[in-house]
Symmetry: C2
Subunit: 463 residues, 2 copies
């Protein structure tokens, strides 16, 4: 057994309701952020990873290894014995006066994470060390806490969590490039069929699989990795990312949008409640105004606009002199990010559901509207980010779905999916949230490469 | 908006503290398990997926569509209006007397999930429908609930959840077959380097990546899919499965084993507390004695035995006439499942930690013991299942680790991993639990293909 210590989080949580000075001799252990020594007295800022804050260690030349301690470098791992002393006149409410400082792991002097401001680009190149930097200490804690929050949210509503497969013979969207799976066959030759007997891919969505579980459990969700083999070198695209995909029975597009709005508002409130220090940091250091923006969303009903209305609004904007990069906007056109952002930022000035898209630009499983031209799909657009959710009511009518699948040629291999419409189907709907993009929205971080612990993008696999 | 209904779970939760007969007209919707009609009166067993129990619908010939209702088939999706009536003399405490029954989705008469006992093999072939069968309705709910429980457990202790990457250039174990990732290059030719610039694989473990996060956050865990391209056609092997991998700082093997024991006991208590109906079902229908077995584990301290002791015990057993399939047991031999099960079932008669394995049969990152021969690794063995956890203290000494990595030739590409020992390393440990095997252990289900929603094994990718 290793000797136990108290965590920095615990100290801050117990203060001021408990008198920490009465604890007597305590131990803390963690990593040195800075070490300043002014001869008779020295100060170490110690972070132990359990909370965003550091604790100040004060030491003097009475330490047996005082000389060693004065030479401890940023990044080193230490164990400190001492007593809590209150410092009501200082920024931090207390510090620890050290009686012992033990070096558990030295830090080489070429430590790439010195105490100064580094660019995000630089930090991406040391992804194995960047979680020790403030921005990433905050970001990955929010990521962790929000992941739990999402499970609590859906399971609190009775949803069942389904681990849909990562390796699949199908392709939910019927579009987008996928990664192919290969193994070495008996002769050591790379084969795409040897293992499973047919070509397989990394999933782009768990939706089709999770639908079949919805029709057993009423309300379900997936939350797992998905993949796109697209060489898009943009701040919003990664080749591997986590998706949350709820699917609800006895629910149409209107019910679906209600759940989307509730989900987004829940997530905002959850990170405010559970990561206050981290959200303050993002608001102050990363995206000034972030908290105001999110608070505004919390109290605002999300607006709705049909795709057809949106096209008219955009055409009018162009007529009135607004310059998009793409100004040729017509019914049937697949809106670009710049158009979506104009709608949510300039027109709605807040979250906006765009609904009822032309069938031709949407996936086969979306429910055909009575007009015969549009489908019951929606995208949720938010200022600063654009689309963060895509959802739809699913085509529940066997014959309609079958015809659409035949038309796009994917009914082979998906007979089981059609089955779900044959054996006790019902009106159902669902949506997908990219978890990494959601995190960008909630923290103000502008590159998806920073919200993922070890991001995967084309030509980027150092770790 | 679709019309709202009350869930079956809600009815059972509100009974008896609330008088359900005072609710007046209510609606329920779900799937028909059975429909028996005896002329003037008919009975439908309705399951809506929100809980394990069904609710009985009683209807009579006053229904406007009585003839249609009598012909509703098993599997159909219906919406029922009616009133709750108490039935204290029956097995179920209440039933619903229907005033309306609406068919939302018919079920074709070739429905493969008729109300009778089907073999698990048969049900695997209809994986898209089997969640509607009792065993799987129970199993996947336990899977979902336990997944949340695991997040609550670790985050309740301050652990940070890390989404380690699925696609990797490394291979944590340095052994085991992996799936290779390929994409089509610009000429449409399959390439393993075109996308990332070097060959990449599906991860076999998130451990190496999560270690670097432990050294920032103190205590962390992963919980995500992992992959093995092994054509093992056994009831315990799948090519895709979910792993939980905690990693704790300032912790040696002894601390690690304490956490493993606490984790297993937590999981048992959690499913007892949160899935009582499901656990009763498994105990009664799947694995008689299951609850006794698990309750026994809850109250028993786990035993410990070194690998060296285990070899002696097994050799003695062979000398005393015990017949294994493999009786040639010597120090350095990698114990087989039959030996592990003998140790936990016949010797320890309960959960058993085997510790301090020969370095030669364990991974490079495990900490060398002072004897120079063994490493600080352990496996947790449990009766009926064999190994369910593997863990170790990690080699924290830079020079020792570097030499081991050079010896097994994997230091190239893992420089970043070595860095974690150079920049403020500390004693740390961790372990991996196969989530699907854990579920087998907790439910008594004996084939991993049944604990996974859509299992992936060689030649098996129908869905």
């Amino acid at each position: 057994m290793q000797p136990k210590a108290i965590t920095v989080r615990s100290l801050y949580e117990r203060f001021p309701s408990e008198d920490l000075t009465k604890l007597g001799e305590i131990h803390v252990q963690g990593w040195v952020r800075t070490n300043r020594d002014s001869g008779s007295i020295g100060f170490i800022a110690l972070n132990d990873g359990t909370c965003f804050k550091t604790v100040q260690i004060v030491y003097n030349d009475k330490l047996a290894n005082h000389d060693e301690v004065t030479h401890i470098l940023t990044g080193a791992c230490i164990r400190v014995g001492g007593r809590v002393v209150y410092t009501p006149e200082m920024k931090q409410p207390f510090e620890i006066h050290a009686t012992s400082v033990e070096v558990l792991g030295e830090c080489a002097s070429d430590y790439p994470l010195q105490k100064k401001r580094h660019s995000f680009e630089y930090l991406r190149d040391i992804a194995h060390l960047r979680p020790r930097a403030n921005t990433f200490l905050a970001l990955y804690r929010v990521r962790s806490v929000l992941a739990l929050g999402i499970h609590e949210f859906f399971q609190g509503k009775g949803f069942v969590y389904v681990h849909t497969p990562e390796i699949t013979g199908n392709d939910a969207e019927g579009a987008g490039q996928t990664f192919t799976i290969a193994t070495n066959d008996d002769e050591g030759k790379l084969s795409v069929t040897d293992f499973y007997g047919k070509p397989t891919h990394l999933t782009v969505s768990g939706q089709l699989h999770v639908e079949s579980f919805a029709l057993a459990f009423h309300d379900v969700y997936t939350f797992g990795p998905t993949f796109r083999a697209e060489k898009s070198n943009t701040p919003r695209h990664a080749s591997e990312f986590w998706m949350i995909e709820p699917e609800i029975c006895f629910a149409d597009l209107e019910d679906d949008m209600e759940l989307m709005e509730e989900t987004i508002k829940f997530c905002i409130q959850y990170v405010f409640d559970h990561c206050p220090d981290e959200m303050d940091f993002f608001d102050k250091m990363i995206a000034p105004g972030l908290k105001d923006k999110l608070n505004h969303v919390l109290t605002t009903p999300f607006k709705r606009m049909t795709y057809t209305e949106a096209v008219e609004v955009l055409q009018k904007a162009v007529q009135n002199g607004h310059k998009f990069e793409e100004n040729n906007i017509y019914w049937g056109f697949d809106l670009l990010s710049e158009h979506e952002r104009y709608l949510t930022e300039e027109v709605a000035k807040g979250p906006l559901f765009l609904t009822d898209y032309p069938a031709g630009i949407k996936a086969f499983y979306m429910r055909e509207n009575d007009d015969g031209k549009t489908v019951a799909a929606c995208d949720l657009l938010v200022p600063g980010e654009g689309e963060i959710i895509g959802g739809s009511q699913r085509e529940e009518r066997y014959e309609v779905l079958k015809k659409k699948m035949e038309a796009c040629g994917n009914e082979k291999g998906l007979e089981w999916y059609l089955d779900t419409r044959k054996y006790g189907g019902c009106i159902h709907s669902g949506f997908g949230i990219g978890f990494d993009r959601l995190l960008m929205y909630l923290t103000g971080i502008t590159n998806i490469r920073d919200t993922e612990p070890f991001p995967r993008t084309s030509s980027n696999i150092k770790f």
